[in-house]
C-alpha cells in the first residue's frame, strides 16, 4: 500500500481510527480504503477534529503493559496517526527495562490481524458448524443479558491467568452472578507455583538475582525464552555473564534436552526425563556427606527423605548419568557461591513433577541462596491485595474433570471464555468439547475463531492488549511491588468492547451493584486508591489527575523499597521423592517442548512468530520430531523422512529432523501447532502434541504430566521438505574458518 494512502486513510475518521460497523461474518471488508480505491490515490485529507493527542505527520509513543503468557512486560508503542506501528519495551518499567521478546514485538499483528472477528456473532446452525451471523452490539447485548440471567448461580468463567484490575472485576462478577472462575495456564507453571509455595512459603513466584550470582544450575527451565519472565531473567543473565568486571557467571544446564535456553549453558548434563529430583537429592547427599554444606540445614529442607537412599551410585543409573557427573555438579554448586538452582518447563511436567521442582529449589537453602544476594528473591504481596489481587492460579488438569462433568450433567448453565482455548489445550481424553455441547450456553470473548470459539453460541469480541485498560500485578515481580498500567494506545480496530465492561454490564444485569461502570473507571479508581495508600515512586503531587497521568506516562506504579520482609520459610516436610512414571511400552521417550516463538500455541496465529525459526532446529511453520543421528541410522531415517509416532492415545505422522543434540532415546516434538482452526496462519498445520500424549497427572498437584509418554516409531515411507532457515546440511563450522569464535577460560 502506498504511504500516502494509509496516511490519508488514517486522517479519515478525525480521531485516527476507523471503526467498522456491520462487518459481515468473520472477515473485514477493506475495499473502501485508499489502497484499491483509485479515487483516493491523489488526495490529502483535512480531518474534522484535531484532538490534542492526535498529531498528524509524526509519531507518538504511549506506555502500556502486557500481562503476557509469562510474567509480563511494560511496553511503549509507537503510534502514527492512530495506528500502532511498533511495540518495544518500556525503558522505565522495572521488569524489562526497555527490552522485549519476539512475542511482544508481534502484538501489533494481533491488533491488525486479517482474521480478527469484526463484531459480535451469533451461532446460526449446529454447534461446531462454524456458521455464524453478524449481529449488532445491541442485539448481542440483549442476548447476552438473557443468557446471564438464565445462567445465574451456575456460570463458569474461563480465563487465562489474570491479576490486578481484571482479576478484581472477574471476582466481583462471579460473586454477583454465582458460579466459578477457573484459570487456564500452562500446566508446568501450576506445578511451579505449588513447588515455590512449599519451598519458600510464598504464594508469589520468586525471581532470581542472576546479576550477582556466580553459578547458575538450571534443571530444564526455559528462562531465556518463554518461562515465567524471560526478559527480566535475560537482563539478569546479561549481567551474570558480562556485567561485572573480572567475574563471569557459570551456567550449567541439567535436563533431557539441549533446548534453546540450554544452548547458552557452559555445560549441559543430559539426564533421563523426569529424573531432575533424583539428581538434586543425589547432589544434596554428596554435599552433606562430604561436609560441603550444613548437614542440619539439609536434614531440615529434606526432612522425611533419607538422603543416603539417593546417593550418586543409586541415582546415576536411573538418571542416565555417571557418579562423577553428579559429584561434579554437587561440588561445583557448593563451592562457586553465590550459586542458585532453578527448575521448570519439562521438569515439572512429569508424574513426579512437584518432587522434581521442590527438590531442586530446596538446594538453594543448602548454599544460603534464599533471600540472599545472587540467589532466590522472594516477591512481596500486591500493594493492595483486595483491589489488585495477585495472579490467579491455573486449574490443574485433574481438576478439570469435575468441571467437565458438571458441564456434561447440566450443572453448569453458562460458560464464558476469554483468552483461553481449552478445547485445544486440554488433551482430547478430557472430553471438554463434547461437554461444551451438552447443553450449556457458551459465550466466547475471543477475537479469533479457534477450537473453543467455534463451540460458542455467541461471540463477543473483546479488545486486544493494545486497545484496553488494565492494571497488572506481574508474577513474578522484580523483587518489589510493581503494578503495570495497560492503557489503550489506539481505538479498537474492530467492533470490540473491553472484557471488563462486558463483565460489569453482565453483573449489573444479574442484579449486583458494581462500584464502576467501565474498565477505565475501574482502573482510574484503583490508581486513586494506590495514591491514597501511599508509597510508590511518584512523589510531588497530590492531585489525583496529575498522579494518574504520571502513572500513565511511566507505565505503572512501583516501589523499590517494598522488598519482601518476611524471611522465606523452609518446608516442614519435603515433598515425597518419586521416580517418574511413563505411559506406554517402548524404548523411546516422547518429550514435547514449548518453543521460543510459539510457546504452547497461544499466539500461533501471528505470522511473524510462525516465520521465526526455532533456535535449535531453525524449523518454521511446522511440527517435526527431533531424532538423534545414531538413532536415525538405526531407524533408517534422515531429515525429511516422515515417521509414525505411535502412542496408546493416537498415531501421528511427523517429518523427522535429525538433531545432533537429541538424546538417543528421546523423541522431541515442539508444541504450538496442530490447530484445527486459528486464522489462516495457524490452521491445519502440524500436530498438537497434547492430542497424542497419554495424559498422566502429576501425583500431588494433578497437573498434566505431558512429558510422561513413551512412543513407538515406524517409518511412513514418505518424504517432505521441512521448511527452515538452516541450509540443507547441518551447520557445523569449518575448523579453519570458524564463524563463532570461542575463548576458552579453562
Amino acid at each position: 500500500m502506498r504511504r500516502r494512502d494509509f496516511l490519508k486513510l488514517v486522517a479519515a475518521s478525525g480521531a485516527g481510527t476507523v471503526v467498522f460497523t456491520g462487518c459481515a461474518g468473520t472477515n473485514i471488508d477493506f475495499s473502501s480504503w485508499g489502497n484499491g480505491n483509485p479515487s483516493r490515490e491523489f488526495q490529502i485529507q483535512s480531518a474534522v477534529d484535531n484532538p490534542q493527542d492526535f498529531a498528524v505527520g509524526r509519531d507518538l509513543w504511549y506506555a502500556t503493559a502486557f500481562s503476557g503468557v509469562a510474567g509480563g512486560s511494560g511496553l511503549i508503542v509507537r503510534v502514527y496517526e492512530g495506528r500502532a506501528k511498533k511495540v518495544d519495551g518500556n525503558p522505565d518499567y522495572p521488569l524489562n527495562m526497555g527490552r522485549s521478546t519476539a512475542l511482544e514485538q508481534s502484538l501489533v499483528q494481533e491488533l491488525y490481524h486479517p482474521d480478527r472477528i469484526g463484531g459480535p456473532l451469533r451461532l446460526k446452525g449446529a454447534r461446531g458448524s462454524g456458521s455464524y451471523e453478524a449481529i449488532s452490539w445491541d442485539e448481542a447485548q440483549t442476548e447476552f443479558n438473557s443468557m446471564i440471567t438464565a445462567g445465574k448461580g451456575s456460570t463458569l468463567l474461563i480465563t487465562s491467568s489474570v491479576s490486578g484490575s481484571t482479576a478484581a472485576a472477574a471476582g466481583q462478577f462471579i460473586k454477583a452472578i454465582g458460579g466459578e472462575h477457573v484459570t487456564f495456564e500452562p500446566e508446568e507453571r501450576i506445578v511451579l507455583r505449588e513447588a515455590t509455595r512449599r519451598v519458600f512459603g510464598s504464594d508469589r513466584l520468586p525471581t532470581f538475582d542472576l546479576a550477582n550470582a556466580n553459578f547458575l544450575l538450571n534443571f530444564g527451565a526455559e528462562f531465556l525464552n518463554d518461562w515465567v519472565s524471560p526478559v527480566h531473567l535475560s537482563i539478569g543473565y546479561s549481567a551474570f555473564r558480562q556485567g561485572r568486571a573480572g567475574t563471569r557467571g557459570r551456567y550449567w544446564h541439567v535436563g533431557p534436552q539441549l533446548s534453546a535456553t540450554a544452548a547458552s549453558a557452559d555445560k549441559w548434563v543430559p539426564i533421563n526425563p523426569g529424573t531432575e529430583g533424583l539428581v538434586a537429592l543425589a547432589m544434596a547427599q554428596v554435599m552433606t556427606s562430604q561436609g560441603l554444606v550444613d548437614k542440619a540445614a539439609a536434614a531440615s529442607v529434606y526432612s522425611g527423605i533419607t538422603l543416603d537412599d539417593y546417593s550418586p551410585d543409586k541415582v546415576a543409573p536411573k538418571a542416565g548419568v555417571t557418579v562423577d557427573q553428579i559429584t561434579e555438579l554437587a561440588k561445583t554448586f557448593a563451592s562457586q557461591k553465590p550459586a542458585v538452582a532453578i527448575a521448570g518447563t519439562s521438569a515439572g511436567a512429569h508424574t513426579n513433577g512437584l518432587f522434581n521442582l521442590t527438590a531442586v529449589y530446596s538446594l538453594n537453602y543448602l548454599v544460603g541462596a534464599v533471600g540472599a544476594k545472587g540467589g532466590v528473591v522472594i516477591n512481596p504481596d500486591s500493594p493492595l491485595p483486595d483491589v489488585l489481587p495477585n495472579a490467579t492460579v491455573g486449574t490443574a488438569y485433574r481438576d478439570w474433570k469435575p468441571i467437565t462433568d458438571k458441564l456434561k450433567s447440566g450443572g453448569t448453565k453458562l460458560v464464558l471464555i476469554h483468552n483461553a482455548n481449552p478445547v485445544y489445550g486440554l488433551p482430547p481424553a478430557m472430553g471438554f468439547q463434547a461437554a461444551l455441547g451438552a447443553g450449556a450456553k457458551v459465550v466466547s470473548f475471543s477475537n479469533f475463531m479457534d477450537e473453543t470459539t467455534t463451540q460458542a453460541d455467541l461471540i463477543l469480541p473483546t479488545c486486544v492488549v493494545l486497545e484496553d485498560w488494565g492494571l497488572h500485578v506481574p508474577d513474578p515481580g522484580p523483587g518489589y511491588q510493581l503494578v503495570g498500567l495497560q492503557q489503550p494506545v489506539v481505538k479498537p480496530f474492530v467492533d470490540a468492547k473491553p472484557l471488563v465492561d462486558l463483565l460489569i454490564g453482565a453483573a449489573t444485569t444479574a442484579g449486583a451493584s458494581m462500584p464502576w461502570k467501565t474498565n477505565e473507571d475501574l482502573v482510574r479508581a484503583t490508581v486513586a486508591q494506590l495514591q491514597q495508600a501511599g508509597g510508590g515512586n511518584i512523589t510531588g503531587t497530590d492531585d489525583p489527575k496529575e498522579y494518574f497521568v504520571t502513572v500513565q506516562g511511566q507505565g505503572g506504579w512501583w516501589d523499590p523499597s517494598t522488598t519482601a520482609k518476611t524471611p522465606p520459610t523452609a518446608p516442614k516436610t519435603a515433598t515425597k521423592a518419586a521416580e517418574p512414571q511413563f505411559a506406554g511400552d517402548s524404548p523411546y521417550y516422547l518429550l514435547p517442548f514449548p518453543t521460543n516463538s510459539l510457546s504452547y500455541g497461544e499466539y500461533s496465529n501471528l505470522p511473524w512468530l510462525q516465520a521465526l525459526p526455532e533456535p535449535i532446529s531453525t524449523n518454521v511453520w511446522s511440527t517435526w520430531v527431533e531424532i538423534n543421528p545414531t538413532t536415525g541410522k538405526t531407524l533408517k531415517v534422515e531429515t525429511g523422512d516422515v515417521v509414525k509416532l505411535i502412542t496408546t492415545t493416537a498415531t501421528v505422522e511427523l517429518p523427522v529432523y535429525i538433531n545432533p543434540a537429541a538424546a538417543t532415546d528421546i523423541m522431541l516434538v515442539p508444541f504450538g501447532q496442530g490447530h484445527v482452526i486459528f486464522s489462516r496462519y495457524a490452521e491445519k498445520r502440524g500436530s498438537n502434541p497434547l492430542s497424542f500424549i497419554v495424559p498422566q497427572v502429576e501425583s500431588e498437584t494433578g497437573a498434566l504430566a505431558w512429558a510422561a509418554t513413551r512412543v513407538k516409531i515406524e517409518k511412513a515411507n514418505k518424504k517432505v521438505r521441512v521448511p527452515r532457515l538452516e541450509g540443507s546440511v547441518p551447520a557445523y563450522q569449518l575448523e579453519e574458518f570458524p564463524i563463532i569464535e570461542i575463548q576458552n577460560t579453562k
Binding site: 478525525g14 483535512s46 480531518a47 484535531n50 509524526r58
Partner: protein, 178 residues
C-alpha cells in the same frame, strides 16, 4: 529509385522508432512536466489570497507541521472553524460547504497538488530550518486563484539536487531515499 526504396523505408521506420524516446524526453520537460499541468479541481474553492493577503495569516498558521515535522500537514476543519464558526455563510456557498462538512463530521478530501513518490522522504522542517521560505518551492500561493493552487516549481530530483548543490546541502542518496 527501386534500390533505395527498401533502405529508405527502413530508415524512416528507424527514425520513427527513435523519435519515441526523443519525444518522451521532450514531453517530460514540457507537456508532462508537473508545472505544465492545469489546476486540479478542489472540493472547496479555498482562496489562499484572502487568508494571506487580507487576513494576514502566515503559511504555518494552518500548515503547522512545516517547521517541526517532515510533513507540513493540512489543518483539520476544527482550525478553520476557529474563525468560520462566526462568519456568516449566507450567499457564500464555499463557506456553507465547509460548515456543513464540520457539522456533519465529514472530512474533506483535497486534491493533492504537491505529491512526491513514496520512495522520497522529504522533510519540511530541515528546509525551513535552513532558512528557506515556503514560496521558494511552492511559489506565490497567495496570488493563486481560489481552489486553483498549482505546482509552479519542477520539484523533481534534478531540481532538488541542483538546489542542494548550490546550498551545500547533502546530496547523499540516503538523505532522502530510504
Amino acid at each position: 529509385m527501386g534500390r533505395i526504396i527498401k533502405p529508405a523505408i527502413f530508415g524512416v521506420i528507424v527514425l520513427l522508432v527513435l523519435a519515441i524516446p526523443a519525444l518522451a524526453i521532450v514531453a517530460r520537460s514540457y507537456i508532462l512536466a508537473p508545472t505544465a499541468q492545469p489546476a486540479k479541481s478542489q472540493p472547496i474553492a479555498f482562496p489562499h489570497s484572502i487568508h494571506v493577503n487580507v487576513v494576514g495569516l502566515d503559511c504555518t498558521f494552518c500548515h503547522r507541521g512545516a517547521t517541526t515535522q517532515a510533513d507540513s500537514t493540512v489543518p483539520a476543519l476544527q482550525l478553520c472553524m476557529g474563525c468560520h464558526a462566526i462568519i456568516p455563510t449566507t450567499d457564500r456557498p464555499q463557506l456553507e460547504m465547509l460548515v456543513n462538512a464540520f457539522n456533519s463530521g465529514t472530512p474533506i478530501n483535497w486534491t493533492r497538488v504537491h505529491q512526491l513518490p513514496d520512495h522520497v522522504h522529504f522533510v519540511h522542517a530541515m528546509h525551513i530550518n535552513a532558512g528557506f521560505n515556503c514560496a521558494t518551492c511552492h511559489g506565490d500561493v497567495a496570488s493563486m486563484a481560489p481552489g486553483a493552487v498549482v505546482q509552479v516549481r519542477d520539484l523533481r530530483m534534478g531540481d532538488c539536487i541542483t538546489c542542494h548543490r548550490e546550498n551545500n546541502a547533502p546530496t547523499d542518496c540516503s538523505t532522502c531515499h530510504y
